[in-house]
């Protein structure tokens, strides 16, 4: 039993990959620049040096090729962890993900398993150029056969990645890139919560804020700010977008009677739409206000100098909280 260590989300994922590579010889890490460079975010730093080119594989610049060959490797018994360099570059692989990776287990009536993890650094807030700041999670969560998760803390980053790699289903693992350098405690010997279980990360009584990945921190900040105004907000870290843990959320909303969902992705047909629809159905007589959503606009992710305006922030969250409380 090792003592908890303080580390960044980036380091936690690196450690998680390292441990997985160590404990299971079938685990592979693959993607563009994951080798010597350690990835553009250094998430795979040092892994090729220690595990060799055979297990930490620099691939040609072709995302469909990365996922398509990862499927083949999984068919051969490997457990590939494939990196997509940035959110906006997953689309060339979308066909392989949607028509093959997601459906092959069912197609084979269960005879084939595809334990492939696709790591995608996602979301904005880092001042990047086009295609480097998107949040496409709804486009994966809508597709049956995929599991979709996103950690918000170093501990979850570490454990959820280990669980994702151990999972026999394909997992799309969205990494909140602007939180890569946030620190937190990681206890590598703790027994983790199930991969798809939501977590109440702050208790409150007046309204529930639901978020995942990068927006959990924003919601916690909003809850602190609201406290100063005498409002008690509960914050739920959903952790998983497919499946979504509606039971935990429902319990929270039955208590607080109000819900605001926050994500960076565009609101229109974002995960918040499903959450609003389903929680309204489950809690129809409990809700004092409609479920409100805070998220991106129906617009291409804007140039960096506008992203502060585009992204949900403390003010936008609190504005919706005000609106919900005004009902």
């Amino acid at each position: 039993m090792t003592a908890p260590k303080s580390m960044t989300i980036a380091k936690a994922i690196n450690e998680s990959l390292r441990t997985s590579l160590e404990t299971d010889p079938k685990v592979l890490v693959m993607g563009e620049d994951v080798g010597k460079l350690g990835g553009v975010f250094r998430i795979t730093d040092g892994l090729q040096k220690d595990f060799g080119e055979d297990r930490v594989i620099d691939t040609p610049l072709a995302e469909s090729g990365i996922i398509g060959t990862a499927i083949g490797l999984a068919l051969r018994g490997y457990r590939p962890v494939a990196e997509i360099q940035f959110d906006g570059f997953v689309f060339p692989a979308y066909d392989q993900i949607v028509t093959q990776l997601a459906k092959m287990h069912a197609r084979a009536l269960g005879k084939v398993k595809l334990p492939v993890v696709i790591r995608i650094p996602y979301g904005g807030g880092i001042g990047a150029v086009e295609h480097h700041s998107e949040s496409p999670e709804a486009l994966f969560a809508h597709v049956a056969g995929l599991k979709v998760v996103s950690p918000a803390t170093p501990s979850d980053a570490y454990w959820m990645m280990r669980q994702a790699i151990e999972c026999d289903d394909p997992v799309i693992f969205f990494e909140p890139k602007r939180r890569y350098w946030d620190k937190g405690e990681v206890d590598t010997s703790a027994v983790p919560a199930p991969l798809h279980r939501a977590r109440v990360v702050r208790e409150g009584t007046d309204l529930t804020l639901a978020a995942y990945g990068p927006m959990v921190k924003t919601c916690l900040e909003a809850a602190s700010a609201a406290e100063e105004e005498g409002r008690s907000l509960e914050v739920v870290d959903l952790r998983s977008m497919s499946p979504i843990d509606f039971d935990t959320l429902q319990a929270s909303v039955e208590k607080t009677r109000r819900l605001v969902v926050v994500h960076e992705a565009p609101v229109f047909l974002g995960t918040g739409a499903e959450i609003a629809a389903r929680i309204t159905e489950r809690c129809f007589f409990h809700l004092e206000a409609p479920v409100l959503r805070v998220g991106g606009f129906h617009a291409p992710y804007p140039p960096a100098r506008l992203e502060e305006d585009y992204l949900p922030n403390l003010d936008r969250v609190l504005d919706s909280v005000d609106r919900a409380l005004a009902f």
């Binding site: 055979d54 691939t59 040609p60 072709a62 469909s64 090729g65 996922i67 398509g68 060959t69 990862a70 499927i71 083949g72 490797l73 999984a74 068919l75 051969r76 018994g77 490997y78 066909d95 392989q96 028509t99 093959q100 459906k103 092959m104 287990h105 069912a106 197609r107 084979a108 009536l109 269960g110 005879k111 084939v112 398993k113 049956a144 056969g145 599991k147 999972c167 026999d168 289903d169 798809h196 497919s242 499946p243 979504i244 843990d245 509606f246």
Partner: protein, 382 residues
């Protein structure tokens, strides 16, 4: 300058730039359409009479159950069928070149290859009947599921081959695809990955001249086997209606792969004698003359002629094969008719290996919904 007609354009481009083609005969052939054995400088084969008769038997069986499937579709027992008529040599020859431990990635038309791998034809018919979307265990015969999205499986095959190499195994992998598929980005990416990782995979393109209604000139203005050179591995065109040549060339290609030489492309030059599928009407886009021309190159007829002329098989043998194939057809016919419809609750099965809360919820809701109708006629609940 305007875009000129396909024919003019492609022949100009083709003629001018075939380049490497002069280096070797363009089409490897060991058995002529007339059933005469010929030799080839690079590829040779020496089969026992029994092996030769085996190939014949395989082709006849394949054609027979394929034809039965067409009939079953007409009778409404299948929703669709993609006939391989005319491509028996390409499939039997290449399939018989594989070893049991090799792995095969088919498209949706490799019924003959499936046969050589020991997959029961009935298993193939499930998806065309609409009772499943695949459904055999790929690892039982190292024969992957049929893949409908054109070209996808080329990457799966490459990844599988990368894995086989990592394992230190000397198994090889063979990926089937069509002339149309050669245009898909996935096939090109498979070429790149296979070359870069030196993966032991053979890309086997059955150029049957058509992608539904489009002739091969809509996909390429040079022969497809030439595609691989620019990715750094060899390509060869073989007479796809000559089972001996296909066997010899595929064996060599698999040997090339398994001995660490990396990927290879084989283009089997053949012809789709039937429509694209039972839903297709080939008379809308192609001429009878072309079909007639290819009928004269029939893969089964030429082997039969050879066997007969050389005294390698007698009438009794041919009659026996005929009888056996009738029995096979009967078994397929009866088997298909007896295939039960799946239980509606199967909709919720095997979506995830490790479970998923939403699926559980929807399964339970649907079960409750279905229970309303229990004991009543469909819809009688209202």
């Amino acid at each position: 300058m305007s875009v000129k007609s396909t024919a003019a354009r492609s022949s100009r481009g083709g003629a001018k730039r075939r380049g490497g083609a002069g280096r070797k005969p363009e089409l490897v052939q060991l058995l002529t359409p007339e059933g005469e054995r010929v030799e080839h400088s690079e590829y040779s084969i020496d089969l026992t009479p029994e092996e030769l008769r085996g190939l014949y038997r395989d082709m006849v069986f394949t054609r027979r159950f394929d034809g039965e499937a067409v009939t079953l579709q007409r009778q409404g027992e299948l929703g669709l069928w993609a006939s391989l008529l005319g491509q028996e040599a390409a499939q039997i020859g290449s399939g018989r070149a594989t070893r049991p431990d090799d792995y095969v990635f088919p498209t949706y038309r490799e019924h003959g290859v499936a046969w050589t791998r020991g997959v029961d034809p009935l298993n193939l018919l499930g998806m065309f009947r609409g009772v499943n979307n695949g459904g055999w265990d790929p690892n039982q015969n190292n024969f992957h599921l049929y893949t409908i999205v054109i070209g996808s499986q080329a990457l799966h095959a490459t990844g599988y081959a990368m894995g086989a190499a990592k394992d230190g195994s000397d198994s090889a992998v063979i990926a089937y695809f069509g002339d149309g598929a050669s245009s898909q980005g996935d096939v090109a990416e498979a070429f790149t990955f296979a070359a870069v990782y030196n993966a032991p995979v053979v890309f086997f393109c059955q150029n049957n001249q058509w992608a539904i209604s489009e002739p091969t000139e809509r996909q390429s203005r040079v022969p497809i086997y030439q595609r691989s050179a620019g990715f750094g591995f060899p390509g060869v065109r073989v007479d796809g209606n000559d089972v001996l040549a296909v066997l010899a060339v595929t064996r060599a290609a698999l040997e090339h792969a398994r001995s660490g030489e990396g990927p290879m492309l084989v283009e089997a030059f053949t012809y789709r004698m039937g429509a694209h599928t039972t839903s297709d009407d080939a008379t809308r886009y192609r001429l009878d003359e072309e079909t007639a021309e290819w009928a004269a190159k029939d893969p089964i007829a030429r082997l039969k002629t050879y066997l007969a002329n050389e005294g390698l098989a007698d009438e009794a043998f041919f009659a026996e094969v005929e009888a056996e194939s009738d029995a096979l057809a009967k078994r397929v016919r009866e088997g298909v008719r007896a295939m039960p419809n799946p239980d509606p609750m199967a909709i919720f099965d095997n979506i995830y290996a490790d479970g998923h809360a939403l699926v559980d919820e929807e399964r339970a809701q649907f079960a409750a919904y279905q229970a309303q109708f229990e004991g009543s006629e469909e819809g009688a609940a209202r």
